[in-house]
C-alpha cells in the first residue's frame, strides 16, 4: 500500500522537479523588450501551469490514500496486484545492461559489445538456453552490422575487439 502511494507520487514529482528547473532557468533568460515577448514567456507560463497541475495530482493522490485508509477490509484491486508483481530485479538488470552497453561499445567495438548485450538481455528476459543465447546473439549482431553499417552507412565503432 505504502509502495503504491509512493509510486503514485512519482509522475507529479517528476513534473514538479521539471517545473522548478524550468522556472529557475527561465529567470535567467533575456527579458521582453519593446512589447515583444522574450524567450522566457512560454516556458514560464507552462512551468506555472504544470506546477499547479502537479499539485492537484498530489492532492488527488493524498485524498485517495486517506479514503482507502479509512475503509476496512480493503481488498487489493487487480491493477495493484499487477503493480506489485513488477520484476524490479530483472528490470534493473536490463537497464544496467543497456547503460553498460552504451558505455563500453565505443572502445570494445559494435559486434562484440552487441553480442554480449543481446546475450545478457536474453538472460534478463528469462531465455536461458546456453549455446542458443550466444548463437542468436552472434547472428543478430552480424545482421544488425550488415543492415546499419554496410547497407545504410551508419558509422558504428570498431573498437579493440571489432
Amino acid at each position: 500500500m505504502r509502495v503504491d502511494f509512493t509510486l503514485s507520487l512519482l509522475p507529479p514529482g517528476i513534473f514538479l522537479a521539471t517545473t522548478a528547473v524550468a522556472l529557475w532557468q527561465s529567470a535567467t533568460f533575456p527579458k521582453a523588450a519593446g512589447g515583444v515577448p522574450g524567450p522566457a514567456l512560454v516556458p514560464m507560463i507552462l512551468a506555472v501551469v504544470l506546477g499547479l497541475a502537479s499539485l492537484a495530482l498530489v492532492t488527488g493522490a493524498l485524498q485517495r490514500r486517506n479514503l482507502s485508509g479509512k475503509s476496512e477490509n480493503l481488498k487489493s484491486r487487480p491493477e495493484d496486484t499487477a503493480k506489485a508483481s513488477v520484476p524490479w530485479r530483472r528490470l534493473g538488470m536490463l537497464l544496467a545492461a543497456i547503460v553498460l552497453y552504451l558505455v563500453v561499445m565505443p572502445w570494445m567495438g559494435f559486434i562484440s559489445s552487441t553480442t554480449v548485450f543481446i546475450a545478457v538481455s536474453l538472460f534478463c528476459f528469462d531465455y536461458r538456453k546456453g549455446i542458443h543465447n550466444w548463437a542468436f546473439a552472434i547472428l543478430a549482431a552480424y545482421i544488425l552490422y550488415a543492415l546499419f553499417a554496410l547497407l545504410m552507412n551508419v558509422p558504428l565503432p570498431v573498437g579493440w575487439l571489432g
Binding site: 517528476i14 524550468a22 512560454v42 501551469v49 504544470l50 520484476p87 536490463l94 536474453l122 528476459f125
Partner: protein, 492 residues
C-alpha cells in the same frame, strides 16, 4: 478539370517501366518505414541520388512509391511490436497492438492496409477535384491560425486519452515544456540545454517516440514474456467484410480530415493521424472499444495519414510550397528532374501534373496489394519466441535511435523516455499527449510568439482572426465534451 489531361496522364503511367519502379519504390518504402528511426523523409532523401539516371516518370513514380510505402510501413511494427516505425504510426499503436495481443495481428495489418488505401484514394480524388480551392483556404492561414491548429490537435488528444483529464492535461503540458528545450524559435537564444549542443534543435522526437513506445513496452513486458498465439488464415490476408463495413464511415471521415490537415503547410501525417483518432474516439458509440482493439481505432489514423499524403501534394503542386518535411525533400527531387511545382504546373504541363496525381492514386493501390500479399509473412515474425523478439526490439530500438543522426545523445534520450513512459503507464498516465506535445510544441510556440509580435503583444489576436477563433472554440468544446463524457459513466 480537363479530362483530356487526365487521359494523357494515365497513358504516361501505362509504361511498364513506370509501374515497375513504382512497385520497387513501394517495397523499399514499406521496408524503410518498418524500421524504427527511419522515416519517410529519410527514405525519399536516400533514394533521390539513385533516380538521377532514370527518366522523369519512372523517377517520380519510384519517389512517390517510397513515400506512400514508408507511411504505411510504419504501421507494421506499430501493430506487431508496439514500436511505431514513423511518428505518423504512433496513433495506430493503441488499437493495432491491442489486436496483436489478442492474437489477431493479421486482421489488424489487413485492416490497416485497407483503410490506408481508402484514405489515400479519398485524398487523391479530392486533390484532383479541389486542389486549387483547398490551396486557397490553406493560404489564409497566418501565425494565429497555426497556433490555434496546434492547440486544437493537442486538445483533441488530451480529450480522448486516459481516464483522467487532469493526468492527460498534465502530461501534455509537461510535453509542451520539454518542447521548449533548444533554441528559441524567434531569437535563437539557447534554452534549458544544460551544456548539451545535441539538443540545440530541441528534443529529437523520433528517439523520444522509440523510447515512449518501444522501450517502455520492453520494460513492461519483462515480467510477462508469455507467447501470444496469432491467428492466421494461411491465405492472403484480405480484410474481413464486417471489418470493412464497421470502419467505413470512420475511414471516409478520417481520409477527409487527413486531406485537410495534410494540405495545410506545416501539418504532417502525424498530426492528421492523431487528430482523426481523437475525433473518432470522441464520437465513439456504446460498444466501441477504443484502445482495446477496435477496428475504428485502426481505420481512423491509417486513413488520415494516407489522406494527408495526398493533401500535402496540394500546396506542393499548386503553390510550390512543401506541406511537410517529406514534400520538402520531394520538391527538391522534382526540381532536380526539371519540374518546377507551382501555379503554372497545371497550366503549362497539364498531362505531367495529372500523371503525378495518377501516380499517387495508383501508389495507394499498390501499397495495399503489397501489404495484403506480405501480411501473412509478417505475422510469422510475431509467432517467433517472444523473449527473442523482446531482445531484438531492445537492440533495434537503441540502434534506430542512434541511426537517425549518428548521435549517442539520441540513444540516451530514447532510454530516458523509455523509463519515463514506463513510469507514466504504470501509474495510468497516457503517453500519447506527451508525444504529440513534443511534435506540436515548437509549431505552437513559434506561431504564438509571432502572433503576439504582429499584434503588438495583444492576446486578442487569436480571437479577432475568425479561423483561429473557430479552431480555438472547437478546442475548448472538445475539452468540455471530454469532461462530460468522463462524468457520464460515474453518474450512470
Amino acid at each position: 478539370m480537363d479530362f483530356s489531361n487526365f487521359t494523357e496522364a494515365f497513358q504516361l503511367l501505362a509504361d511498364p517501366m513506370v509501374f515497375l519502379f513504382l512497385i520497387c519504390g513501394v517495397l523499399l518504402g514499406v521496408i524503410v518505414g518498418a524500421l524504427p528511426g527511419l522515416s519517410a523523409t529519410l527514405a525519399v532523401a536516400l533514394l533521390i541520388p539513385f533516380t538521377f539516371d532514370l527518366s522523369l516518370m519512372p523517377a517520380l513514380a519510384m519517389l512517390i512509391g517510397v513515400y506512400a510505402g514508408a507511411v504505411y510501413g510504419g504501421s507494421v511494427p506499430a501493430i506487431l511490436f508496439r514500436t511505431p516505425g514513423t511518428p505518423a504510426s504512433a496513433a495506430t499503436v493503441f488499437d493495432g497492438y491491442a489486436l496483436t495481443q489478442k492474437g489477431e495481428s493479421q486482421r489488424a495489418l489487413s485492416v490497416a492496409a485497407f483503410f490506408a488505401m481508402v484514405g489515400g484514394l479519398i485524398g487523391t480524388v479530392i486533390l484532383i477535384l479541389l486542389a486549387p480551392q483547398i490551396a486557397n483556404i490553406a493560404l489564409r492561414f497566418g501565425p494565429p491560425e497555426y497556433c490555434a491548429l496546434a492547440l486544437f490537435g493537442l486538445s483533441m488528444i488530451v480529450a480522448v486519452s486516459g481516464e483522467s483529464l487532469l493526468k492527460s492535461a498534465g502530461v501534455a503540458i509537461f510535453g509542451l515544456l520539454l518542447a521548449t528545450v533548444g533554441m528559441d524559435p524567434i531569437t535563437g537564444y539557447p534554452r534549458l540545454l544544460f551544456g548539451s549542443v545535441s539538443l540545440m534543435e530541441g528534443i529529437p522526437f523520433i528517439p523520444a517516440l522509440i523510447g515512449l513506445f518501444a522501450l517502455a513496452e520492453v520494460f513492461r513486458s519483462i515480467g510477462n514474456t508469455e507467447q501470444i498465439a496469432q491467428r492466421s488464415s494461411g491465405k492472403f490476408a484480405w480484410p474481413m467484410r464486417s471489418d470493412m463495413i464497421r470502419g467505413s464511415w470512420t475511414g471516409i471521415r478520417s481520409g477527409l480530415i487527413g486531406t485537410g490537415v495534410g494540405s495545410t503547410p506545416g501539418s504532417g501525417s502525424d498530426i492528421a493521424a492523431f487528430m482523426a483518432y481523437g475525433i473518432a474516439k470522441q464520437r465513439a458509440k456504446p460498444g466501441d472499444t477504443f484502445g482495446h482493439g477496435d477496428i475504428k481505432g485502426i481505420a481512423a489514423p491509417e486513413a488520415a495519414k494516407t489522406g494527408s499524403i495526398s493533401g500535402s501534394m496540394v500546396p506542393l503542386l499548386s503553390l510550390g510550397i512543401p506541406g511537410d518535411a517529406v514534400t520538402a525533400v520531394l520538391i527538391g527531387a522534382f526540381i532536380l528532374h526539371g519540374i518546377q511545382p507551382g501555379p503554372l504546373l497545371f497550366e503549362q504541363h497539364g498531362p505531367l501534373a495529372y500523371s503525378i496525381l495518377a501516380t499517387v492514386l495508383v501508389a495507394h493501390i499498390v501499397v495495399f496489394l503489397v501489404a495484403i500479399l506480405g501480411t501473412r509473412f509478417l505475422v510469422r515474425i510475431v509467432a517467433c519466441d517472444r523473449k527473442l523478439l523482446l531482445a531484438s526490439i531492445t537492440i533495434l530500438a537503441l540502434l534506430g535511435a542512434y541511426a537517425l543522426r549518428n548521435n549517442i545523445v539520441d540513444v540516451w534520450v530514447a532510454i530516458s523516455f523509455g523509463v519515463l513512459g514506463y513510469i507514466l503507464e504504470h501509474q495510468q498516465y497516457p503517453v500519447a499527449p506527451l508525444l504529440l506535445a513534443l511534435i506540436l510544441g515548437p509549431m505552437a510556440e513559434e506561431n504564438f510568439r509571432r502572433s503576439l509580435i504582429l499584434s503588438d503583444g495583444s492576446y486578442l489576436v487569436f480571437l479577432t482572426h475568425p479561423i483561429s477563433a473557430i479552431i480555438l472554440t472547437l478546442s475548448v468544446l472538445s475539452l468540455i465534451f471530454s469532461v462530460i463524457r468522463r462524468q457520464k459513466p460515474r453518474n450512470g
